[in-house]
């Protein structure tokens, strides 16, 4: 799930940002300024998602959920307004302010504020204009929805430690319970990278027969993961009995490095994020497990919470804190349940009751 932060970090140091940001500026203008929104005409709140960019399947999945929620209101999925921050917190805030003034505060917003400190000004701007906002992933520890009345509806994040531990146990089982493990981690400062590593450490601490040979950051990147994996093969050779990857895209790199040596499918590999390709690899036996965090659900429920708070279906300040800050779902996928997972979440999109706000969640507060 933390596809997110990976991209977040990596693309921040990327100059291509520049152009894309200016292109997105034009796009946002078109989306929010020039095209009249039927929702506005009907008097309901405008529904919007503010997020990083569209180069990443994760964000595409998030906003696909937002579009499905908008469709459930009887509108077209295109009526969901997209604000792309392209890795700029300033742009993120400026776009939100522009949309708030355009809609007169009649706004239901789902947002990843790009970095944690930016969450506060965004939330304050939404509250000042009388809009409703749900944040995901980024916010500082001292910022809480319940300090903002009804306007800051909720914050959604994911706790990766426990699911990572479960998937690490799948790996250790596939290794026959003992042997050397190599790890490929995300960008070291990213929260998901830290939590997933913690999950692996917990699983290994509970199993004394395993040894962590090395754990290096491959920055969520497929090609870098392939290079580090092949260097691991040089360094450790047959000692490698299992590969733990902090996300699926790095697992793909590790698998290709193994494939080059004719080892794909012989050395167990696990990932995280529950991508379609990971499911295929699990079916073919080249991967043993991954964790799905249901981004379409999160993208849709964020819009739904903000929307229903805006039209008065429920009053956020009457809800317990666990309904204001909560963890999204995490579904561990392995060989035994991969077919069912694909049928439900990859090929089909499960019917979601968008007013069952907290069904699959666990309280974070």
């Amino acid at each position: 799930m933390s596809f997110i932060k990976k991209f977040v970090e990596r693309e921040t140091i990327n100059r291509r940002q520049f152009l894309l940001a200016s292109m997105a500026g034009v796009g946002t203008l078109a989306a929010s300024g020039l095209v009249p929104s039927p929702a506005l005409a009907a008097g309901g709140p405008t529904v919007a998602w503010s997020y990083r960019n569209r180069t990443n399947p994760y964000w595409n999945a998030i906003v696909s959920g937002g579009a499905r929620f908008v469709e459930s209101l009887g509108m077209s999925g295109d009526d969901l307004v997209h604000l792309l921050n392209e890795g700029s917190s300033e742009k993120s805030l400026a776009d939100v302010k522009a949309l708030l003034s355009k809609t007169g505060g009649n706004l239901a917003l789902g947002i990843d504020t790009n970095d944690a400190p930016n969450a506060r000004p965004v939330v304050e701007a939404v509250q000042a204009a009388g809009g409703h906002v749900v944040t995901i992933w980024n916010k500082t520890e001292d910022l809480h929805p319940w300090d903002f009345g009804d306007n800051y509806v909720a914050h959604i994040s994911w706790s990766d430690t426990k699911p990572a531990e479960t998937v690490a146990n799948i790996l250790i089982d596939a290794m026959g319970g003992s042997g050397g493990i190599v790890g490929l981690g995300g960008i070291p400062s990213n929260n998901p990278a830290i939590e997933r590593r913690q999950g692996l450490d917990n699983a290994m601490a509970a199993n004394g027969n395993t040894e962590l040979l090395d754990y290096q950051a491959a920055d969520w990147d497929t090609q870098k993961a392939a290079e580090i994996m092949s260097s691991y093969l040089t360094r450790f050779g047959d000692e490698i009995k299992g590969v733990f990857c902090a996300n699926d895209t790095m697992a793909f790199g590790a698998i290709e490095a193994l494939r080059a040596e004719g080892l794909a499918g012989q050395v167990p590999v696990v990932g995280y994020d529950g991508t379609a390709q990971a499911a295929e690899f699990i079916k073919s036996g080249e991967m043993q497990g991954t964790v799905y965090t249901d981004p379409p659900w999160a993208g849709g429920i964020a819009c739904s919470l903000a929307y229903h708070a805006a039209i008065g279906t429920f009053k956020p300040s009457d809800e317990p804190k666990g309904h204001r800050e909560f963890f999204g779902p995490a579904l561990v996928v392995s060989k035994s349940d991969v077919d069912q997972f694909v049928a439900q979440h990859i090929d089909g999109s499960p019917d979601v009751d968008w007013q069952d706000f907290w069904g699959p969640t666990t309280p974070a507060a």
Binding site: R16, Q216, T222, Q223, E227, S231, E256, R259, A260
Partner: protein
């Protein structure tokens, strides 16, 4: 012997010496690691780093970057710079993947046409890049940087942010089938290197690159159509980038918007480390081969000796500066821009 040790030839061979020193240095750390773990280790003989299998791994990692670096070599020899590689690689890779799947999805069908198509796409972007640079008189730095952004944006438009998987076993044999311990893609890369060497040394165009880089005014005054040479240079570079894109897809079986990511740093670093001067007129494709090998030997070696990842970039940066220092003739230049 005297000629061999002259200042000129030392400078000329400095990149090779750097590479050799690196290849002898990493096994020392490897030996120390093993001895510390209580294993027996005879220097060089027991080195896993200096094994054929590891050379194949380094070669696989380096092959796509070598293609890209070859392209930018010619541009740098002309005294220009090309920063469009990331966008061009992505667009070529994604175009290839889509065409490949649309035309049948296996090399045993008409889908093989996707490969020349990708090269044509690369050439077209490169030519456009050259035209923007020459006709609109925009410095190559800015023109190509912008073109790279356009390319990345276009690749994003094509994919919508999704990954395209190319899993045809025949195409993937580039990686999975080995002749004499090395996958087929290494031979493809080698053949392409020889082709570029031919262009550099045996064609008018190749010699004109040096003429433009050595003294553009002089070349123009001698009747050389410099604009044409530049546009052809960028077109050729585009073909090289597309080739890099093809090998990158061959390597990991996925084409996506970020397929081209990181190629800019690696390729330009490799060219400069190999001894091709950024001010033009000096260097060539074999310098680039050595440069690419230096960069990837460092990357591979650092993991093999177990250097923590947070130190690796710092070490890479320091080694790059060292390599450039050793291979630059500071007496021959009065100032550096």
């Amino acid at each position: 012997m005297k000629a061999l040790l002259s200042r000129d030839s030392l400078l000329k061979w400095a990149p090779v010496l750097v590479l050799l020193v690196l290849m002898l240095t990493f096994p020392i750390f490897e030996m120390l690691n093993d001895l510390a773990r209580g294993k027996e280790h005879l220097y060089l003989l027991d080195s896993r780093f200096l094994s054929v299998r590891n050379f194949a791994r380094i070669a696989i990692a380096a092959a796509p970057a070598l293609m890209v670096a070859l392209g930018v070599t010619f541009i740098i020899i002309m005294g220009s710079i090309d920063l469009s590689m990331e966008g061009t690689v992505s667009v070529s890779a994604v175009s290839f993947a889509y065409a490949f799947i649309a035309l049948g999805g296996t090399l045993a069908s008409w889908a093989w046409l996707a490969m020349p198509l990708a090269l044509v796409v690369g050439a077209a972007i490169g030519m456009l890049n050259g035209l923007v640079h020459v006709k609109l008189k925009i410095p190559s730095f800015m023109a190509s940087l912008a073109m790279g952004f356009v390319g990345t944006g276009f690749a994003l438009l094509l994919t919508g942010g999704e990954r395209v998987r190319v899993d045809d076993p025949i195409f993937r044999s580039l990686l999975t089938v080995r002749w004499f311990n090395f996958p087929i893609m290494i031979y493809v890369a080698g053949a392409f290197l020889l082709l570029m060497w031919f262009v550099q040394t045996r064609t008018t165009l190749g010699r004109n690159f040096y003429a433009v880089g050595g003294g553009e005014e002089l070349a123009a005054a001698s009747g050389l159509n410099v604009s044409r040479v530049r546009i052809l240079g960028f077109t050729l570079a585009g073909v090289c980038y597309a080739m890099g894109g093809l090998l990158a897809v061959g390597k990991i079986g996925i084409a996506e918007t970020v397929t081209g990511a990181n190629f800019m740093f690696v390729s330009i670093t490799a060219v400069v480390v190999g001894g091709t001067a950024l001010w033009g007129g000096i260097g060539g494709v074999f310098n680039t081969l050595i440069g690419v090998l230096i960069v990837f030997v460092i990357n591979n070696g650092m993991v093999v000796i177990g250097l923590p990842s947070y130190i690796q970039s710092a070490v890479l940066g320091a080694l790059v500066i060292l390599a450039v220092v050793l291979s630059t003739d500071r007496k021959a230049i009065s100032f550096v821009k």
